[in-house]
Subunit: 314 residues, 2 copies
Amino acid sequence: MSSVSPQSTPIYGKVALIGLGLIASSLFWAMKRGNLAGTVSGYARSQETRDTAREIGLCDEVCDSAAEACEGADLVVLCVPVGAMAQVAKEISPVLKSGACVTDVGSVKGAVIEAVSPHIPENVHFIPAHPLAGTEHSGPRSGFAELFDNRWCLLVPSEGAAPEAIAKLRALWEGVGSNVDEMDAEHHDLVLAVTSHAPHLIAYTMVGVADDLGRVTDGEVIQYSAAGFRDFTRIAASDPTMWRDVFLNNKEATLEILGRFTEELFALQRAIRMGDGEQLFDYFTRTRAIRRGIIEAGQDTDAPDFGRGTKSTE
Amino acid sequence: MSSVSPQSTPIYGKVALIGLGLIASSLFWAMKRGNLAGTVSGYARSQETRDTAREIGLCDEVCDSAAEACEGADLVVLCVPVGAMAQVAKEISPVLKSGACVTDVGSVKGAVIEAVSPHIPENVHFIPAHPLAGTEHSGPRSGFAELFDNRWCLLVPSEGAAPEAIAKLRALWEGVGSNVDEMDAEHHDLVLAVTSHAPHLIAYTMVGVADDLGRVTDGEVIQYSAAGFRDFTRIAASDPTMWRDVFLNNKEATLEILGRFTEELFALQRAIRMGDGEQLFDYFTRTRAIRRGIIEAGQDTDAPDFGRGTKSTE
C-alpha cells in the first residue's frame, strides 16, 4: 500500500537494475520513496536510454556495461525482455558477489529459469519474481513510484534458495507497495496465460482485425471506439518486443488457453447463429460476478468507464 | 462538449422516455442540464424501476403505461432492449401525435427499423439513433448528465424522414454534448460489429474461460487480474439482456467479424507455435498506431492504465 512508511535502514546496500524500462524505472522511484536501497546502479543496452536515465536522475549511477553495474551489488534485478535474459546473465555472472541475490521481473518464469540458472554461481541466490503491474507505456521516462502499490508480486524461488534471501526480497517488494505471493514456475505460467498472455494476444488480434477491415475505415474505428473497442486497444499498445518474447517463451500454456478460448467462442457463435438467447443470457450473467470479485479485491475501480471521466478525455 | 450552453428555449415541448435505464436516465439529466425539453415523461416496465425513478426525481412525470407517457409528446425516445422495441412501438402507436418524432437508442439499427417501422403512423417521423456511450453499470440510478459529452451519436434516418425533423433531433444530441454523424443502417451495423459487438463477445468469452478453468482458481484470476485480464471484465459486466438482444439482432455482421477474428487469431497462434518472432513483432507494432489515433481523436485518455490511478482503486 502507499501507506508503507520509509525504512529507517535500507534493505539492500547496493541494487543494480539491468534494463531501464517501465518496471525498472518504477522500481527505482519506489525504492527511493521507501528508502529501500543504499545506492542504485543501472544499465541499459541502448546509449539513448542511458543518456535519458542520466538526464532525469534515474539511478544514482548509470554504467556503460551490465557487469560494471553489478559489481558489488547485493541485489541484481534483471529487467530486460525475456529473450535477452540468458545473454545478460552470462555477462554479469563473473562479477556477482558471494551472497548476492539475483532476481528478475519477467512475465514468464519457466523459460527465464532455464535461461538464467546455468549462469548463477554456487554462492549466489537466484529468486525469480514477477510484479503484476504495468501500463501501456514503456521506456525510462514511463516509470512512477506508485506503479506497484496494491498490486501483486509473485516470487518463484528455486528449490535451493535460502529462506533469508527470500525474506529480504519479499520485504523489498512489500516496501514498494506490493502484496507478495509464492508459487512454482509451472503454475505461474498457467495463471499468467489466463490473466495476461491470452488476453493480450486476443486484444492484439481484435485491434489487428479492425485495422485490416476494408469496408470500415480506420477513421471510423477510431471515432466510434468508445462503444467497447477502446478497452482492447490499451493493452494492444504494450511493448512489442516484450510481448513477442512472452509468447515465444510461454508457448504451451498460452496455446492451451487460446484453445479453450476458441472452443468457447465457437459455442457462443453457434448460439448466436441458432438464436439461442437463453444460453447467451446465462453466459453473460455469469461473467458479471467475476467483475464484482475484482472490484471487491481492490484490483480495479468501480467508477464507470474505469473512472476515465469526461475531463481526462478532453 | 460539456461547454454547450443551456438553450434559452427548449428544442422539444414534451419528451417521453420509454425504458429508464442507463441511457434514458443520462439523457434526462443531460436534457435538464441543457434546458432541451419543456417537460419529460417516463415509463419503465418494472414497478420497481418506476418507484426508483419517482424517488430520485428521474423524469418530471413517471407514468404507469408507455401509451400514457407518449400522449402529446413531441419526441418519443425508445430506450428499451432491442428485443422489446416491436412490442413497445405497437403499444404507443395509437397515441402518437401528428408531427411527432419517434427515435430510439438501440445498438443495432437494421433489426430495430424492421421491428418499429410497421407501427409508425404516416404523419409521424421515425429517426433511429444510436448514442455510442455507456458504462458497465445499468438501471435508473446509473445515469449522469455527462455520459454523452464528446461521444458520438449516429443518426440513421429512414428515406422519407423530413429534414427539419432530422435537424431537431441532431440539435438535441448536440445539446447533450454529443458529436453527431449520419449513416445507413447496414453500414452502422457493420461498424458497430467491429467496434463494439465483437469486442463484447470476445470479452465475455475470455472471462468465461477464466471462470471455467479447473486448474486456476477464481481467486487467482481475480487477484492477479491487473496483468491485463481486468480490462476485459469491465465490458463483460454489461447488461446481459441488452447484449443478448444485440447479438440476436446483429447476427450476420457480428458473425462475419468473429470469423475474421478467428482467422487472424489462428495465424498468430501458428506464429507462436512455429516460433515466428518477426511476425508477432510486426503485428504488435502495427496495433500501437490505432491506440495513438484513438487518443488523438479524444476518444480515450493517454493516462497510464486509463488513469485509474492508485487512489481510485484503493
